[in-house]
């Protein structure tokens, strides 16, 4: 504790002045990416809302925007922010031991380590707490067997956030443990999972006697679900539609080149995501180009789509306005994910009407170099990924409308007695 800690609280002006002075004294585009980010870790300016002892400055999160503005003003590169690594950092900061913080946080910020999230399984998608990947204690080590799926970037990841079952006599949510798993070991095999749109953004991960050292367990057996909730909360926070896509500066120079390469790798799995949302932005232009704008039936369908998309946008802005004014969240704040599915489906329908026979084609034979074809076969993901429409409706009806939950049949007995999917042995 130093004397300065007891001085006046930081203000936007004081934070801006401080970060500006530091950047002017230290920023140099000739640094290597990791070399520069180590300086950011030492100074705390890479993650100013993190604790002082862990590479931050203990600043309220509201000042991050000011710091970001100053980085942008001078053109300085920030810490690695894209990908699952941010979820790992949030989870470790909230629940990890000092050893975890020491070993992982800095290398997350420098971008040296990449991470993946090992939650979903073939037998448990919406019912994530029904995971059956086994964690068995042998000697003092944990031995992992089972299979995970929908794992973005697992083929590149150094570390995985693993949810596995360690106690089969406990009820569903109480038998789970949460581990940090070394992905680069013989017991871990990663296979790409090809999707119906031809991309392979995700992986299947197989564990055959994979080893976790005892100190890489993040909480006691039984608390795994609580920790997983932290990770998921940060994932959903990032999926509220307000985030900006990671974009790299186009400036020349070594550090910018290294950052561009990093972002290209991290964002590669997400390149079809705009098509997944239906590309409403292309509809009017395409309807005019094809002349279908003059077809009264198509006009009705286009109008339905645009009305839905506009109303959805205004509903999200109502939610944001209420949040900014500190009002309690109204029902309008819980609808975005479900509405986005409705919009995407109608958009795919409209793109089909507009495109006509050309919608039979794919790739370079199809309109806009394959973009339209990609919309048509990507939209089905929208209503599944990140919580299916059905789960969203349950959340809305139970949390917003206060309707009763369905009677539970799997939470009142040892998990080993709960009927579950049989996963074929590999």
């Amino acid at each position: 504790m130093t004397m300065t800690d007891t001085t006046t609280a930081p203000t936007e002006e004081s934070v801006r002045a401080e970060v500006r002075a530091w950047l002017e004294a230290n920023w140099n585009p000739n640094y290597g990416l990791v070399e520069w980010r180590e300086k950011l870790c030492d100074s705390g300016w890479g993650a100013p809302h993190w604790p002082k002892e862990w590479y931050g400055r203990d600043l309220p999160v509201k000042f991050n925007a000011v710091v970001d503005e100053e980085f942008a003003r001078i053109g300085a590169v920030g810490v690695a922010k894209a990908g699952i690594r941010t979820l790992a950092a949030a989870t470790i900061l909230a629940h990890g031991t000092d050893l975890h913080k020491q070993k992982f946080l800095k290398r997350i910020l420098t971008g040296e380590d990449t991470w993946c999230q090992l939650f979903s399984e073939p037998g448990s998608g919406s019912d994530m707490a029904g995971a059956v990947t086994r964690a068995d204690k042998r000697g003092n080590k944990w031995v992992i067997n089972g299979q995970k799926v929908w794992t973005t970037s697992a083929h590149k990841a150094h570390w995985g956030l693993l949810l596995a079952r360690a106690d089969w006599d406990a009820v569903k949510h109480k038998g789970l443990a949460y581990f940090i798993l070394d992905m680069k070991q013989p017991g871990v095999q990663v296979h790409p999972l090809k999707q119906m749109n031809g991309h392979a953004s995700f992986n299947q991960v197989f564990f055959t006697d994979a080893i976790v050292e005892p100190e890489m367990m993040i909480c006691d057996v039984g608390d795994g679900w609580t920790v997983a909730t932290t990770t998921l909360m940060h994932e959903r926070r990032g999926a509220d539609g307000l985030r900006s896509w990671a974009t790299a500066s186009q400036k020349p120079g070594r550090i910018y080149e290294e950052e561009r390469a990093e972002i290209a790798t991290t964002m590669e799995p997400y390149k079809w995501y705009p098509q997944r949302a239906g590309r409403v932005d292309l509809v009017m232009q395409r309807a005019r180009e094809t002349g279908k704008i003059n077809d009264p039936v198509v006009r009705q369908e286009v109008a339905k789509l645009l009305i839905m998309a506009k109303s959805a946008e205004w509903t999200a802005r109502r939610a944001r306005a209420a949040q900014e004014q500190g009002k309690p969240q109204g029902p309008e704040g819980s609808l975005g994910k479900l509405v986005a599915s409705n919009v995407a489906r109608q958009a795919a329908r409209v793109h089909t009407y507009i495109t006509g026979a050309d919608a039979l084609l794919s790739g370079e034979d199809s309109p806009m170099g394959g973009v339209i074809a990609e919309i048509l076969v990507s939209v089905p993901a929208c209503s599944i990924a990140g919580g299916t429409d059905e789960i969203q409706r349950n959340i809305i009806s139970e949390r917003v409308l206060k309707m009763p939950r369905e009677t539970s049949v799997d939470t009142n007995k040892p998990f080993k007695d709960v009927p579950r999917n049989v996963v074929a042995p590999r």
């Binding site: 009017m284 005019r288 704008i293 009264p296 006009r299 009705q300 286009v302 109008a303 339905k304 645009l306 009305i307 839905m308 506009k310 109303s311 959805a312 205004w314 509903t315 802005r317 109502r318 944001r320 306005a321 209420a322 004014q325 009002k327 029902p331 309008e332 609808l335 479900l338 509405v339 409705n342 059905e390 969203q392 409706r393 349950n394 809305i396 009806s397 139970e398 917003v400 409308l401 206060k402 309707m403 009763p404 939950r405 369905e406 009677t407």
Partner: protein
């Protein structure tokens, strides 16, 4: 402004809601809808004067309070919620037409009586063909004498003052349109109350035989004022509609939570929960569009023709769909006369059609956006 209400506006809404809950329970709605007039003159006069309702939008210079469509939208939404039986929408539309078409002297002469509630009024523009377009207006005005028939006129059989849209002989489309005012008891005017599916919304057919009328504004140049009046009218209606839709949604939700079948609340069945979630989506999106359009009117948004039609189309689909689900969620009781659901179901149906249905407004929106792109 387009995305939230101020604390004062929320407080106004609360006061209004409490007043309407007290004055317009469904028992009272049922009593009034069975009368020929469709409202209680003395009761409405008192409520209107206490809360300053018809004067809300009218500028202070003409005896009103000079608020905007944002505040008016709140009033309409609450009235749609309570199904208040009163000539509010009709009088408001007449006031809007006078504001858009009338001269300064005419506004000073006509509006104070509407603002203070001593007179009710309506706007007569549609005819037997039901068209909401200028082209559908066939009634002629020759030397300020009106001949022809107006139909689907809101509260037309009871209004003290009628604002009429007619055209010069030999003109078409929006050319040659003029606004006129006619007293409800003018010689040569025959008023017939129409039997309506939605008994809470009274409509009349008005037959004019050489009726002496007072011109409103510049003779033959009423086209733009008519277009503007229609946009404002449908935004008003859309705001009224979302109030009714929300009330239906809430009542249906309350019912399924209470209703037991198979030994459990039917609100615990996923099929019911899914429906309730979808209803919330429909109603909230329609509210967003209606609020946005009302605020856009106050801000003089150039995109107004499209935004007004968007709000009406969205409200029409949402209100009717909510009504269909609400009857279904009530089951057999929901199809009975004694259950209140049908009161709003019929209001949903009548509002869907009044001033143009969803198909028509989607087309109008596309035309408005098409013109913009061509500019």
């Amino acid at each position: 402004m387009r995305f939230s209400f101020s604390a004062e506006q929320e407080e106004f809404r609360g006061t209004l809601r409490r007043a309407l809950e007290a004055r317009s329970p469904t028992k009272e709605v049922r009593r009034l809808m069975a009368t020929d007039e469709g409202f209680d003159r003395d009761g409405w006069k008192r409520l209107n004067q206490e809360l300053g309702l018809t004067g809300l939008l009218i500028p202070e210079a003409y005896g009103g309070q000079g608020f905007g469509f944002g505040e008016l939208g709140i009033v309409l939404e609450e009235m749609g919620r309570s199904l208040l039986c009163a000539p509010f929408l009709s009088t408001t539309l007449a006031a809007i037409a006078i504001l858009n078409a009338g001269s300064e002297e005419q506004k000073k002469a006509l509006l104070p009586a509407l603002a203070d509630g001593t007179k009710t009024a309506t706007l007569a523009f549609q005819e037997g063909n039901g068209s909401i377009d200028a082209a559908g207006i066939a009634m002629t005005a020759t030397a300020n004498k009106l001949d022809g028939t107006k139909s689907f006129v809101l509260d037309g059989h009871t209004a003290d003052l009628i604002v009429v849209v007619a055209r010069k002989k030999g003109t078409t489309g929006s050319d040659g349109l003029s606004f006129f005012t006619v007293a409800g008891d003018a010689p040569g005017l025959t008023r017939r109350k129409l039997k309506t599916m939605d008994e809470t919304r009274k409509l009349a057919q008005l037959t004019f035989k050489s009726v002496e009328a007072q011109p409103l504004g510049i003779d033959g140049a009423g086209g733009p004022a008519f277009a503007k009046t229609l946009q404002q009218a449908i935004v008003c209606l859309a705001n009224e509609m979302v109030g009714g839709a929300e009330r239906l949604r809430e009542d249906a939700l309350e019912y399924v939570k209470m209703r037991m079948q198979f030994g459990r609340s039917i609100a615990s069945f996923q099929t019911t929960k899914n429906k309730a979630a979808d209803m919330l989506v429909d109603v909230e999106l329609a509210k967003s569009a209606a609020y946005y359009a009302a605020a856009a009117l106050d801000e003089g948004d150039k995109d107004m023709p499209a935004l007004a039609s968007l709000a009406k189309a969205q409200a029409a689909e949402a209100y009717l769909q909510t009504a269909i689900h609400a009857v279904q969620m009530h089951g057999g009781i929901g199809f009975t006369w004694d259950n209140d659901t049908h009161l709003w179901f019929k209001r949903a149906k009548s509002s869907e059609i009044l001033f143009g249905d969803a198909n028509e407004h989607r087309e109008k929106m596309m035309q408005a956006w098409g013109q913009q792109a061509a500019e």
